[in-house]
Amino acid sequence: MRTVYTKIEQIVGNVVTVAASDVSYRELAQITSAPGTAQQRSSLAQVIRLEAGRVFLQVFAGARGISTDAEVRFLGKPMEVSFSDALLGRVFTGSGVPRDNGPVLTQNMVPIAGPSVNPSERIIPRRMVRTGIPMIDVFNTLVESQKLPIFSVAGEPYNQLLSRIALQAEVDVIVLGGMGLKYDDYLFFKETLEQKGALARSVMFVHTAADPVVECLMVPDMALAVAEQFALQKKRVLVLLTDMTNYADALKEIAITMEQIPSNRGYPGDLYSQLAARYEKAVDFQSAGSITILAVTTMPGDDVTHPVPDNTGYITEGQYYLRNGRIEPFGSLSRLKQFVNGKTREDHRTIMNVMIQLYSSCKEAREKRSMGFKTSAWDQKLLDYGDQFEREMMDLTVNVPLEQALDKGWQILASCFEPAEAGVPSRLAEKFWPKK
């Protein structure tokens, strides 16, 4: 029989402290307010520090309403999640409690935030994930096992983009981790997955903006632990994490409560390591399945140098910039694209490079025009090109397979330039340049 502690010494933010022994680091505890209290509450909590006979506990449901005589019962194990096919179609909170009307799952509990994959067991990614979006397929190909965030400001249709990719991608299981999600957005995901018949291959861990902030911290680990189990069963899993900035803000809150010295705009010095530990769960197993992570990182103030997008960019394998409802070619990057775009079609890489370089020159020409300078004949060509490029490639309503998008690329180039002007290697120009 484990001791029950009933003397909370300190409550700061969502962290409570009790004097206790025989407690292990990261162990769970159940905190229940003393019987007869007006607000009868019970919540899980996790040990986040041991210090000279005192134990610091982070309370999942928040410390609000916790009395100093509440009962603290240690459970002797760290956080776990139930794993089985029964998860499919279900929705849970960050601490694993059903959000739908389904039963509580308790069989086959697996630890969350488990060890990382041995790098020598990883393989080089090799499969493209087709999305039908030219700005992705042609210019920044998404690759199975990639970890990639969508950088955007609040108000952009990032969740729509996320769900569109999820539905169009050929994956076996979709795991959604929602952090600080607006309730409407949660319903949007649920309904979209339902309508497209994808709910039966989806699991959702959802923390909404109204839920206790500590539960937000559990979401990525819960989602990824489940994803890992499916992947070990040879499933191709797509994990959607939205919005990781809320997750980082929850980390910040806890760090400040624990009086950690902030490194940058209040964020803890280990933000990079914390984010990396989650994103690095993306993997392609040699003899099993894979985990691909698509995340949303909203940029406060549209500032990519803000610590959250900045640290994210250093961790992920590229990023998609969503701005004004379009995926921006500048700044957007899939770092794994070269593993797959050499095997699609021989003109893929050239179209990719040439079109972006010209679009960048077009931007310069636009700048010139807006400054009121005379535009040269060459500038005029670039301006024409830019308009066509935006209309027929960048617009998110365009939904075509890669090959058609490449053909479209050549048509746009040929309608604006001579092959040499476009900077296309002669060999490819001969083969693909549309004859007038």
């Binding site: 022994s21 041995n118 080089i124 010095g269 390591s273 990396a276 394998e317 010139k368």
Partner: protein, 585 residues
């Protein structure tokens, strides 16, 4: 075995506090044991009865009262034949062997010998019985792949030793005694092929350090021609995320003209190491005809692996680099990214509640970085041969802003700076090394006058471009416009290089001399055009020809014809000069 005992009293992330009863040593390796688990840690602070340790593993499950085991040794590397071709974590555990034991996932508390204990090496004795040797002197050699691996007097011996016995030629394991040495007091020291060295201390068993001056050809044009690295030099590559630091290091690790490459993947993506891991065994090193892996060692402590081991990983890498340098070899150490190691220091410093410096980095950050890069260098060994350790580290500045502490501390101590810029990488001008902001203190492989010419052209071209933004193209003189075109051309035709093209990705020293020589000739010519559009069209066509030329193998028929074509194109505009003048008058 030391008899000092301790008990855990506190756990905060990877920092564990314990109460001890006897003498301890700063930086000694300790083990924290809980149940069947035995976790490696390093003692980093002593305060009275209490000591603080950074644990190299996840600390979940540790509890107050857990035992601490002391070892009285500092964190050390195993040095001996069999390091090359291997993949280690930051604590020198061989990762493939770990996988064989624990499967897909790393399991904390599993530690394996770094060097194979059963493999036998063909030993040839070199030391003469009766002769007097000091630390680092040769005892014998064993073939390790393409190298004659030197078995040396252990670096820790402070004084001269007399050779009493050397093993005859034969096959020995790394733990078998191959020599017996006697010190001045008559004490006998047994030497085997393997020795241990504390990773945080530099190996200094050489005669003297000399100034690095020979170029280390990386086959990256903008580096070798404009911002060269020297054998034994140090350089850093700061840049915002996605600017191309890792790609640059990857191609350098393949193409660099050195004997040995040590790759330290420190706190970055595991996927990037996997590329090296999977590709190198398949790639043939043209200089040796053997697989690239035979000259490579990888230390891999990626971002989701224990943070405390990041520091160990860079020190392990540099220790192994120094070890091979002692064999008269040229070693290149590539560390990606030194910022992750600095961040690990910051995390620990925060937990120790030290007074923070800028951006919460510890006050000693600068001296730690300086003493790391100081371990690079060119040395003359006692047998007259030279060996070198060249260190290239990437830096990942927060927000891409070079004014931050890690970049600034690094810039103070390195000999070359390859600053990557966001504008260049966004414009896909790879490698995105900024040609106007980067610098190098080492000599280039092309004549200095030519480098100066190129730099000046780039600067003037940039000036014209800035000016054009204000006054427009129509307000720019024809002469200035040509300067601008020339600058852009030099940039696109030479500085930019496609890392993923078989030929373009690596340009050898001779080819660089040849191509850059021709470019200088061309760009020094007075080129005249009817109007700006004609100039632009000409440079576009010339660039096209250059790109084709860059993609032709050096010396191949396409290479010859490509050159012919370029010369001819230039001749056309040079010779039309008089004609066009005549036409205009």
């Amino acid at each position: 075995m030391s008899s000092t005992r301790g008990k855990v009293v506190g756990v905060n992330g990877n920092l564990v506090t314990a109460e001890v009863d006897r003498a301890v040593m700063q930086n000694e390796v300790v083990y924290v044991t809980t149940g069947p688990l035995r976790l490696k840690a390093e003692l980093i602070r002593v305060r009275g009865r209490f000591v603080e340790m950074q644990v190299f593993e996840d600390t979940t499950g540790l509890r107050a009262g857990d035992d601490i085991e002391f070892t009285s040794t500092m964190l050390s590397a195993e040095l001996g034949p069999g390091l090359l071709g291997r993949v280690y974590d930051g604590l020198q555990n061989p990762l493939p062997e770990l996988a064989a034991q624990t499967g897909f996932f790393l399991q904390r508390g599993t530690y394996l010998p770094s060097l194979d204990r059963t493999k036998q090496w063909r030993f040839t004795p070199k030391a003469v019985v009766g002769s007097s040797l000091i630390a680092g002197d040769l005892i014998g050699t064993v073939p390790e792949g393409i190298f004659a691996h030197r078995v040396m007097v252990p670096f820790g011996h402070p004084a001269a030793l007399t050779v009493q016995w050397v093993a005859p030629s034969g096959d020995y394991t790394v733990e078998e005694v191959v020599a017996r040495l006697v010190d001045l007091n008559g004490g006998v020291h047994e030497v085997c092929m393997m020795q241990r060295w504390p990773v945080k201390l530099p190996i200094r068993a050489y005669q003297e350090r000399v100034r690095p001056k020979d170029p280390l050809v990386t086959q990256v044009r903008i580096v070798d021609t404009f911002f060269p690295v020297a054998r034994g030099g140090t350089y850093c590559v700061p840049g915002p995320f996605g600017a191309g630091k890792t790609v640059l290091q990857q191609i350098t690790s393949r193409n660099a003209d050195v004997d040995i490459v040590i790759v330290a993947a420190c706190g970055e993506r595991a996927g990037e190491v996997v590329e090296t891991l999977r590709e190198f065994p398949e790639l043939i090193d043209p200089r040796t005809g053997k697989s690239l892996m035979e000259r490579t060692m990888i230390v891999c402590n990626t971002s989701s692996m224990p943070v405390a081991a990041r520091e160990a990983s860079v020190y392990l890498a540099v220790t192994v680099a120094e070890y091979y340098r002692q064999m008269g070899l040229h070693v290149l150490l590539l560390a990606d990214s030194t910022s992750r190691w600095a961040q690990a220091l910051r995390e620990v410093s925060g937990r120790l509640e030290e007074i923070p410096g800028e951006e919460a980095f510890p006050a000693y950050l600068e001296s730690v970085i300086a003493s790391f890069y100081e371990r690079g260098g060119l040395v003359k060994l006692r047998d007259g041969t030279t060996g070198s350790v060249t260190i290239g580290g990437t830096v990942s500045p927060a927000g891409g802003n070079f004014e931050e502490p890690v970049t600034q501390a690094t810039l103070k101590v390195v000999g070359a700076f390859h600053g990557l810029s966001r504008e260049r990488s966004d414009a896909r001008r790879y490698p995105a090394i900024h040609p106007l902001e980067s610098w190098s203190k080492y000599p280039s492989l092309v004549p200095i006058a030519d480098v100066e010419f190129g730099r000046k052209l780039l600067r003037r071209g940039n000036d014209v471009q800035q000016m054009m933004k204000v006054v427009g193209e129509e307000g720019t003189s024809m002469q200035d416009f040509v300067v601008y075109c020339k600058g852009e051309f030099l940039d696109a035709a030479y500085l930019q290089q496609d890392a993923f093209h078989d030929v373009d990705s690596s340009t050898g020293g001779d080819r660089q001399k040849h191509v850059y020589g021709l470019l200088v000739q061309v760009l020094q010519k007075d080129l005249h055009f009817h109007d700006k559009d004609a100039a632009r069209t000409f440079f576009q066509r010339l660039l096209q020809a250059m790109i084709d030329w860059n993609r032709a193998p050096f010396g191949a028929p396409e290479f010859q014809s490509g050159e012919q074509r370029i010369r001819q194109m230039v001749a056309e505009v040079t010779s039309t000069r008089e004609a066009s003048k005549a036409g205009a008058s």
